[in-house]
Symmetry: C2
Subunit: 330 residues, 2 copies
DNA sequence: TTGTAAGCGTTATCAC
DNA sequence: GTGATAACGCTTACAA
């Protein structure tokens, strides 16, 4: 520490914490201290400060799969906003496994992270609610739960699916299938609801608009697409509820030598770097990851700064549809 | 702390640090302590320990772009290995900007991370070398520099490019172009070298095998592909030195209505989730990200545990080629 | 086999 | 305007 300039630690500490004014420290002393601090490029010891104040200036983020570009993007924006606010970010990957997720939360609490942003596995929320009740500031992103009463930032999934379905219908399709992801998880349910309500609203025959599959995976998309096309009157269009599913549909289409959109139309959730560069550029629903991440960080920091923060608001961020050439117009 | 069982902190500390034996503590006392620790689920205060030992049990990882799936994958495996070794991982995104990279290193040092794994921007290494000289354990991944004398784990880029080029040649192509990434960065140079040496070795006319472009970006791939195809005798095959570049080539091919591989053959570095599901499944060179990440963590931890660790070995991990259908056989 | 006490670098409290 | 001093929770000589 810089008391090698004949001043007490106290004074130095006060200056460096911007409390010079409050303690009416002589401006020249203040200058001297600042000067010296820069010269010996002093950096406060965060252990000592943490020990005293129980603040780590660190926040944690937990996602089901870092390698999924959707979450990687989310981590990227989260990290940049946190850093801008002086927080470092430690990451955790739950591998879509609720036990690991729980373990991660425990580890983060041990490390005294000041708050955590979590994209939950989605099959259970009690450990998260407990942590929150015990005072850990936290916000959910993407998957969430209505009953959990936790602050949440997610996409407006219902509306996104509704609009996409509407778009397909308006192009003249009357038999549309939806291949869904993890059943009973919230974003999935909201998307499914948007799909079915659009079908209803336009008076299409629900019997010809099947809902299929279970899982946000390539395999699910692949097998469901094969199966759908094996029906006597196969749907002419598919709404895929995430990017992995649509990749599977693409695989099936190639195998069956189906042209897109000639033989099969496709709209997919999740814009990806490759979406525009596929042989047939794909129409996608793009989630506003920038806004989601930013909002999540804001809410989290609000919680950190206000121990009495009680709101459990759910923010549903609008999405946008990138219309390209994967839907045939009748 | 758990000295509410009539024992001194010392004893408790000793037990919990596994030094019971060394201090010949009575087995029953040891049991009692462990018992109590579990019951009141005691977790040591890492600030206090850190303050005393200057250990954070944290390592940092810095990449040019978290959202790039290649780096996201690398982060994923790094994180899991670090966690297995009791380290938490804090992330930093340098945004391909060397100033931010330097800033991140500074921040990490302030936070007393015990080591850092860094995929450098690649246009300067002095700040990294300095940090290393001043005792920060660190290892480079992906991009590196021969002169920097730093421990490195990367792919065997030379060999990967050589084999890919060889493969194209053996399919009967005599005019092959290479669209490169960031010029003068090491992985790029090694790949370029592999390409040109294969061309030489097989006696192809270098004049008909151009080396083009500068940058690991979609735009670079796109414009270079357009340009190459505008030549009087355009190359029949392209070797793209990363995934963004090949995406750009795909875009150009679609625009020019070129069939792959009918009109243009393509081999790309970097396997991606979509590689196999493109309209023409693409032949790619897959880097062994698992091994790279694992090795990097191992070396880093070796450095952390041995302050005298001096080796600056460069590990070049073998790659594999996924042969699919994007190369035409003459 | 166990305990005492010093010290790690901060900040808060109180005193001058 | 500035300074002593205690305290945060842990590890580790040094004692006993």
């Amino acid at each position: 520490l810089a008391q090698r300039l004949k001043l007490s630690v106290t004074t130095v500490s006060r200056v460096l914490n911007g409390k010079a004014k409050a303690y009416r420290i002589k401006p020249e002393t203040e200058q001297k201290v600042r000067q010296a601090a820069i010269e010996m490029n002093y950096a406060p010891n965060l252990f000592a400060r943490g020990l005293k104040l129980s603040k780590s200036e660190t926040i944690g983020i937990i996602v089901p799969d870092i390698a999924n570009p959707f979450f990687a993007d989310l981590i990227k924006v989260t990290e940049s906003h946190c850093r801008a606010n002086g927080y470092a970010v430690v990451i955790g990957d739950s591998n879509d496994n609720i036990v690991q997720e729980e373990e991660m939360i425990r580890l983060f609490k041990n490390r005294k992270v000041e708050g955590v942003i979590i994209a939950p596995v989605g099959t259970g929320f009690s450990h998260i609610m407990n942590a929150h009740k015990r005072g850990l500031p936290l916000v959910l992103i993407d998957r969430w739960d209505k009953t959990a009463q936790l602050p949440t930032v997610t996409s407006d999934n219902y509306r996104a699916a509704y609009i996409a379905t509407e778009y397909i219908i308006e192009n003249g399709h009357t038999s549309i299938a939806c291949i869904q992801g993890l059943q009973n998880s919230y974003p999935n349910n909201d998307r499914v609801l948007g799909f079915t309500e659009a079908i209803m609203a336009y008076g299409l025959d629900p019997g010809r608009c099947p809902l299929a599959g279970n899982g946000f995976t390539i395999d699910n998309g692949y097998y469901q697409a094969l199966h759908l096309r094996s029906m006597k009157e196969p749907p002419t269009a598919i709404l895929a509820l995430n990017n992995s599913i649509s990749l599977g549909v693409l695989k099936a289409a190639a195998e069956l030598k189906l042209a897109i959109p000639g033989d099969l139309s496709l709209v997919s959730f999740d814009e990806q770097a490759y979406s525009a560069y596929l042989n047939t550029p794909m129409t996608t629903i793009e989630q506003d990851k920038k806004t989601i991440g930013k909002k999540a960080v804001e809410i989290l920091i609000a919680q950190i700064n206000d121990p009495d923060y009680k709101q459990a608001e759910v923010f549903q961020i609008p999405t946008k549809m990138n219309v390209r050439f994967s839907v045939k117009k009748f």
